[in-house]
Symmetry: C2
Subunit: 225 residues, 2 copies
Amino acid sequence: MTSIRALPTLTAPVEDYLKVIFELEAGDGVAGTNEIAAELGVAPASVSGMVRRLAEHGLITHERYRGVHLTKAGRRAALRTIRRHRVIEAYLTRALGYPWDLVHDEAERLEHAASDELIDRMAAAIGEPTTDPHGAPIPTREGTLDEPELLPLAAVEVGVRVRVQRVGDRDAEQLRYLAELGITPGRQIEVLSRAPFEGPISLRIGRVTKTIGPGLAKQILVAVR
Amino acid sequence: MTSIRALPTLTAPVEDYLKVIFELEAGDGVAGTNEIAAELGVAPASVSGMVRRLAEHGLITHERYRGVHLTKAGRRAALRTIRRHRVIEAYLTRALGYPWDLVHDEAERLEHAASDELIDRMAAAIGEPTTDPHGAPIPTREGTLDEPELLPLAAVEVGVRVRVQRVGDRDAEQLRYLAELGITPGRQIEVLSRAPFEGPISLRIGRVTKTIGPGLAKQILVAVR
DNA sequence: AGACAGAGTTAGTCTTGCCTAACTTATTCC
DNA sequence: GGAATAAGTTAGGCAAGACTAACTCTGTCT
């Protein structure tokens, strides 16, 4: 059985690199040095150094000047970290009443320190959640992750009713704003109008109408119907 | 107000050194290089190096070849870490059903990653505990710690009835054994007999009689009556 | 095709925290 | 009081991760 467990202990920076590479690969298909550096708030040269080490440890493959890919082991480690992160987020909000704009930073630190045992107990305590508070799916213990196909709200046609499934979790202020608007996972909304040239979008949320910018609308992932 | 909060961020090793120095100072009155090294599982030379850095940062004072003492800032940082550790232990057992022999190791890692916010929420969630699962008192948010005067069970005279207040938390196997014997904080026990020359000690625990060695008896701290 | 911008890499340095080996100081014991 | 022993320190290294500055690819645009 391929388990997400029983990996050699990785340092916190290594776990962070793998997590970021996983996410970039899922988006672009490839993770570039500068992208990784930007995501981690680190100089590109530092990434080159780490990439060499990660490749030596068999966690990624690296084509010079081309980009990096996770190996099976790397992917496994990345998913383990992502599972930890999301379970912690879910636990903090559901069991400790943590506001959803603060859980990300807390989880960012705890994910490197919590044992698998603790993660499992947290998950069990809140009924084995399948998503985190921002709607991101939680990888299983076994290392599988099913990412449903979602549409950014920015791409939804006028008149269509959609259901919010997931929102960006990085920016605490943005999360507070979304909560204020009532845009949280599970919420039904309808696109009332869209200004041309990437202009603002009018939405019906419950009984009220709100207008948001196109940048924010890209951070809101929805499913049609 | 002198708060336990608002300290510069310290690295995990630094927090560990301060914690250990605090505990050794509480015991011996002075913390020696070799003691610190043994406690942390590190070479004495490494301690000398760290001691220099801690002194430079004003967390300890150091008399060469004599030993170290915490400064006020150092003591504050140590108590903050100890509070975190003990709140985490208490939370894990009371809220997540963690067995008491496992909480120490988990807390050892989480104490460096948890925010003050999280620690406060955990403490609130379980009713502001005053001791950890092994009976150790939890420092307050403000950095005060009241350590009651306790007697090792090894020093109790025959015929005296005592109440278990606190047990050593380092050794998981010892904790499992104590649990099996029924020796947990709050438990009433009576010393039935003591063999001379640091020999075994017979105890009445509830309705049963058990005999323990003198080493274990030193790890059990009690209050008379 | 050639030049240029942008992405990526190398070289060299720094800090933290650890190690071993060799040295120094303090203490204790005859 | 002087030697043995324990405790503590210095010297010299190493690995991880970060940085800046300087270099080299790659790919695009004309």
